[in-house]
Symmetry: D3
Subunit: 225 residues, 6 copies
């Protein structure tokens, strides 16, 4: 049964692990952890080149009502990323430069919101990155409760407080807190392998040969004409 709560203390992922994940980027992490944790492709950065990684502080709230974001600010710490999801689809601008100012003063690194964002001229100047579903100047009320720091489904992904969020131009991915160290290792391995491939591909070698695909193609019966 659903209850509205605000959980003050959550277990976070160590920031040094988060820095390492950030360096790999969304596409590599997603592959390295077995192709899971990616948020839906409609979650886009409000400016090109945006990049952020941090601990998820999660917010579930009603359509058109941002009361719980104000509640969440108080429990955020340096290195966090706020993750906001409404209980039904909504494109209202829940978030603008005032909330960004407040979060920035607490060391929060960015926002992921399955709804709208506004003041998108000011936010790049403030270097406060946002990934959102929409841009909209339509504001919200502050009337109804939701929850802070409970597991949420945001843009098709399950996100728990303290999980790692990495976001860049390719989108947003969540890494489970308990997997963070293993995903760093798997990502490093993947990057190493890809670098080797990249060099060979740059010289004109074919993926068909590098990845030894020709036999499988023949077995599947591809006809060359």
């Amino acid at each position: 049964m659903n209850k509205t709560v605000c959980v003050r203390q959550i277990e976070r992922t160590p920031l040094d692990l988060i820095e390492k994940l950030k360096a790999f980027g969304v596409a590599t992490i997603h592959e390295a952890q077995g192709r899971c944790g990616l948020l839906a492709a409609y979650m886009r950065p409000i400016y090109a080149g945006a990049l952020a990684a941090g601990n998820a502080v999660t917010v579930s709230l009603p359509p058109g009502d941002n009361f719980m974001i104000h509640v969440a600010v108080e429990v955020c710490k340096a290195g966090d990323i706020l993750v906001v999801t409404p209980t039904s689809p909504c494109t209202n601008g829940y978030f603008g430069d005032l909330l960004a100012t407040s979060l920035k003063s607490r060391g929060v690194r960015g926002l992921v919101i399955e709804a709208g964002c506004r003041d998108i001229s000011s936010l790049p100047e403030m270097e406060f990155p946002v990934w959102s579903r929409a841009v909209s100047a339509q504001g919200t009320v502050k009337e109804s409760l939701g929850s802070v720091n409970v597991p949420v489904v945001c843009a098709d992904a399950l996100i728990r407080p303290g999980d790692v969020i990495v976001a860049d131009d390719d989108g947003v991915v969540v890494v489970k807190r308990e997997d963070a160290a293993a995903v760093v290792e798997a990502s490093a391995a993947r990057v190493k392998k890809e670098s080797a491939s990249r060099e060979r591909l740059a010289k004109g070698e074919l993926g068909l040969d590098i990845y030894a695909m020709r036999e499988k193609l023949a077995a599947l019966g591809l006809k060359y004409i």
Copy 2:
């Protein structure tokens, strides 16, 4: 880290509880459990009047590949509902009358799939209800693995194996296994209260009076002209 598995044994919700939930319908259950667990509104029944409730057997699989549905059939039992979700958006027809025949022979009560379904003329005749995102004759391959009976995000809702699925013309709702008994009670209470209201409303009494809303309206400052 994601691994492909098929979990054979899951804990299920007792079928008598499920029958009670079925009688309340999706809208009542959703309200009674605190407005959570509803699947996205794009999940629609393929025929009007469809109604089903059962234990979730969950399937996560790749876009355009229904291999894992065949794997899932084996672990289904009487009273189950199959819940299928692809790892990225896909409208292919993963499911048709052959799979329905197979599931029906095992006592499965329906399908909830965040993708496409086909043979929608035959399925109503077979009385095998389906809630899907799309209707499409486009088939699938059987090449890649996924998982059966792991927690999945389906149409914005987290569904775990053995949770209760209730689906009708209004959509689909999931009730956590551990909440099922409490939600039956809360739903019964809600129905009772609504019946009383319905009688008064039918006689022409106003909701403004029955629910005592006039004071709040005045406090909020509504002007009548």
Copy 3:
């Protein structure tokens, strides 16, 4: 500047004119009044064969909040159709069988809502037709004000209180109160003309000849091969 108000008294269109409009249907009326007043094509009836016409009582309200529908019920009269539009896109189920019971007891003939509706199994039994953008069991709160009986934009059309709403399987059209009589006449003329064409077309005569299109085709330079 926007203010929240409830206008109790509105000028309505005489019901005998409304009955005449209802008989013509949406497509004819839309053409007859010069191709205006049609609501967006995503407004669909929740059951086939639904048909209604009445005086618009309008409601503007926030996303996810149906408080103002309860306010509107009180000012509805027999022969009205409730027209509801949120201030930003929302698919929540603002409306179900309790509100339908209440409206029906006052003689209201239907609902047009640019949002979601629920209890769609009960509403056809009650013969209370609804045209909506979505079906959703997701409920709403009752916290914030909006307005009743002010001009609203609903599904791309401007609707003023007391304008005529006609809705059928083809969609929803609004006729300005001051135009109602003229539109009845124009619709009748159109029906008469179409009946004559229909007879000729049924006998195999071509539209190219009946509507004398061949000359224009030649002038535009169509080549037959």
Copy 4:
């Protein structure tokens, strides 16, 4: 270079072949011809149970202008299905009961239109089936040319005049004229094979065994828990 033309004479597929294809239905045909030719899933019948097959007469026309449909009527013959596609996305109601009356008088069996349709209450009574992208009472003008009986792309599929269209509750598929006989054979083979499977599945045998999938699952490394 594009030119506006109306091709009067096209080569058609024999009607007895078309009748055979109709009996198999869309899903079977699509599989039997190697999973090609399916129109996009947003093409839906305006009433459940609609079923049609015939020779394609194709129309390419501008958004909001149905002049060329009137031109096309004249070149239609008994057993044809009209296929209409605008040059840019449009939901206007290009087609209603008058055009249906005209087509029916010539023996045309149905309409496939990547746009809107209106008068959807009358069309089922007339038993004139339509598959469309939208329902809309919004009419069209008759001002600009397009082409009749040229190859068109309709809802993601290439359709040439005289190709076979089969349409049912699952959607719409096109079969190339030169493939029609071969697709009849391949469909018959598929139906036979599926009937055998259906019987075995109905008795409770598993697809995993009937289709011999267990070895592949093991090779791919699926873990049962």
Copy 5:
């Protein structure tokens, strides 16, 4: 009843008021005037940093036909913004660099169009900003009439000739001509209040305290854990 007209003379809002509104931006104006007048969020600038404010000259026209834009140019004056809306959804590119050249020569400041725009490489160089629903090279015909300087519904908002349009990266808002002076005042008050809040938030004070929200949270029953 709809008639096609071109209104030459309209009452405009004084340009000094418009300059003041422009300085506040869309988000502030929308809030200041009571959260109304915002166009739908799908209206986006074709380049980042676009900014414009002016008197609305309105155009209603058919899908795929830009004849009336040419008519509208003649009635535009310096300081105007052209507002164009088709009578049914259309993404065609109604507008490109030739029309922009013509409008610019008359002192028109920008375009708001609920359809497509093309030549989007040239327009930023010309510093002619456009807010549109789509980018498309698909052109239009010049065959059918519509109206200029009548009230239109554009992207969910009612816009009358001579109303003020303000558009920036956050979207587009309309201010009624008669409200312009009052909205300037209300916006200034809002900016002043927000500046004070911004300073306090930047220092780390919480919105919960600045806006005195804690009592309401307690009254609503939020539980901290």
Copy 6:
């Protein structure tokens, strides 16, 4: 009947013709060739200012499976543009910097894909332009066949191997190989005519006069008020 093949040798359009087409841009070419060949407006460049023209090498492949792109690389030559289309709608990221490295080493000029793309931070640095339907880090498998260098329908347009693709900020257009020379001429004529108009428009002359539209307006019955 559909068969999976890879066609090694295709007839290409001479590169000097392609360079000439590139200079005209998408909007001009589309108009000059009679308003055909434009891909759907949802095909957008991943970075502003992207521009490419080349010979189409086409790929048809399953949703979520990029095996055939690897096959296609081998048959690409300098001056080609890869055109990729899945057999059902899919937003997966089929393509990233490794494949771009490989294609670039062979002189391929860009990618047009009716699906997703990833690594969109690296691709602009590499100056490898991509037009896609989506951005997504979600990868693909390499399990199933499709075809290379067969005619495909991509984003509503028919594209044959060796046809010319031109893509810029306005979108993507295809020119038939046999039409390339004629389209160069028609485009040049159009540009010349438009230059003349542009000069006159820049001086303040009206399109109504330059294009002699006033008579037609009067004939159609436009009323000036």
